[in-house]
């Protein structure tokens, strides 16, 4: 691929998704776009770019979707989810006892595993959240990924990466070689196509936001913009989870680290986390 063609595709990705593609990641371009070349029965990547330049709208969407990372897993990294279970959910239950209303956003939900993980934890808390109205929303730019999330059907590798077998037994049913999430969990969550570059305010406000392993794909300016938008969506005592290898410190002053090694952040208030923050062990 010529440097000019590479720059064209990189610009398209940045504009449509915020995804940054540097020259050292050109192998990603080939890995992820060759299946599109084959599916469209094109000669090579050059022809694909030529058609993109020609303005094929549908093809642009397909190419952007193919380049998006959909890497996710149940209880990914495990320990942040243990923090959720042991600290945040009990705090949240105490803080919202009056309203009995809980809202969760998973930004960059991909095929749904992390949002379902949280839904399993809420369900397994048993009577703690019985009678509560739980609104768990997953957003992503990729419609194929959202379709998979909605189907809630996972293969044997996917259900083994991070998912304790007792949870598999409680929340899934085997269908031939795959495992399907229970109807109860399926109804607890909803998925919407949404671009993080756009206004997020119509989604409403949330108690917990998961935005894990998403920011790493953006440049500093886009990270800052997304974090500012997310901070406005969180309640003052809400919690943000980013990936364990990502950091918010030095990018946005809207959040204060609580356990940065686990990617846990509270909303900023006078240089400290709000003392009511649900991220803190009280």
């Amino acid at each position: 691929m010529t440097p000019d063609d590479f720059a064209f595709v990189a610009r398209l990705l940045k504009e449509r998704s915020g995804l940054i593609l540097t020259r050292d990641k050109s192998y990603l371009l080939e890995n992820r776009l060759m299946p599109v070349v084959r599916a469209r029965m094109l000669k090579n990547l050059d022809e694909l770019v030529e058609r993109l330049r020609g303005g094929e709208i549908n093809l642009r969407e397909i190419v952007v979707d193919a380049m998006l990372s959909k890497d996710t897993g149940f209880f990914r990294d495990w320990r942040p989810f243990e923090h959720l279970r042991k600290v945040v959910l009990p705090n949240l239950r105490a803080a919202r006892m009056g309203k009995r209303h809980l809202r969760v956003l998973c930004a960059g939900v991909a095929t749904g595993q992390e949002l379902y993980s949280l839904a399993m934890q809420i369900t397994d808390a048993g009577e703690s959240f019985l009678g509560w109205h739980v609104n768990a929303i997953g957003i992503d730019l990729s419609r194929p990924a959202l379709n998979a999330a909605e189907a809630g059907l996972y293969n044997q590798f996917e259900v083994q990466r991070g998912l304790p077998v007792r949870m598999l037994m409680r929340h899934f049913t085997k269908e031939e070689d795959h495992w399907r999430i229970s109807e109860g969990l399926r109804h607890m969550v909803s998925f919407r196509p949404w671009n993080l570059l756009e206004d997020l305010y119509p989604l409403g406000r949330f108690d917990i936001i998961l935005c894990r392993n998403v920011l790493a794909h953006f440049d500093q300016q886009t990270k800052l913009s997304v974090l500012q938008k997310l901070s406005r969506l969180l309640y003052e005592d809400g919690v943000l989870y980013v990936g364990v290898t990502e950091t918010v410190t030095g990018v946005s002053a809207s959040f204060i680290p609580v356990s940065p090694d686990l990617g846990i952040y509270a909303v900023h208030r006078d240089g400290y986390p709000d003392s009511r923050s649900m991220a803190l062990a009280h």
Partner: protein
Amino acid sequence: MKRCLIIDDSRVIRRVAAKIIQDLGFTVEEAENGKKALDACRVRMPDVALIDLDMPVMDGMSFLRALRQTPGGDKVVTMICTADSGAMQIEQALKDGADEYIMKPFDSEIIHSKLLLLDLL
């Protein structure tokens, strides 16, 4: 350093699992059936055991039940590792005292994530 006992009648499976688990910082011991594994446990209990089900001499479930009756055997973290992915088989293994269940084929990511959630990493 934590110790892992890999029990499988397939030398290839033992070798693949041993490489993955050693890379995660464990010392590894191997046994080709449940009886040899039980003998090894009576000498020294491992921290974790990866247990195939279908083996000659003594199968995995018989080993698991015998292990749980052996002094100190109740503290060993046990992971069944088998090609049988039926829900009934999994339920039975959990009822008989297994802590986790891995369906073959497995990869390093699966083993890593299971050891992490069992608090062994």
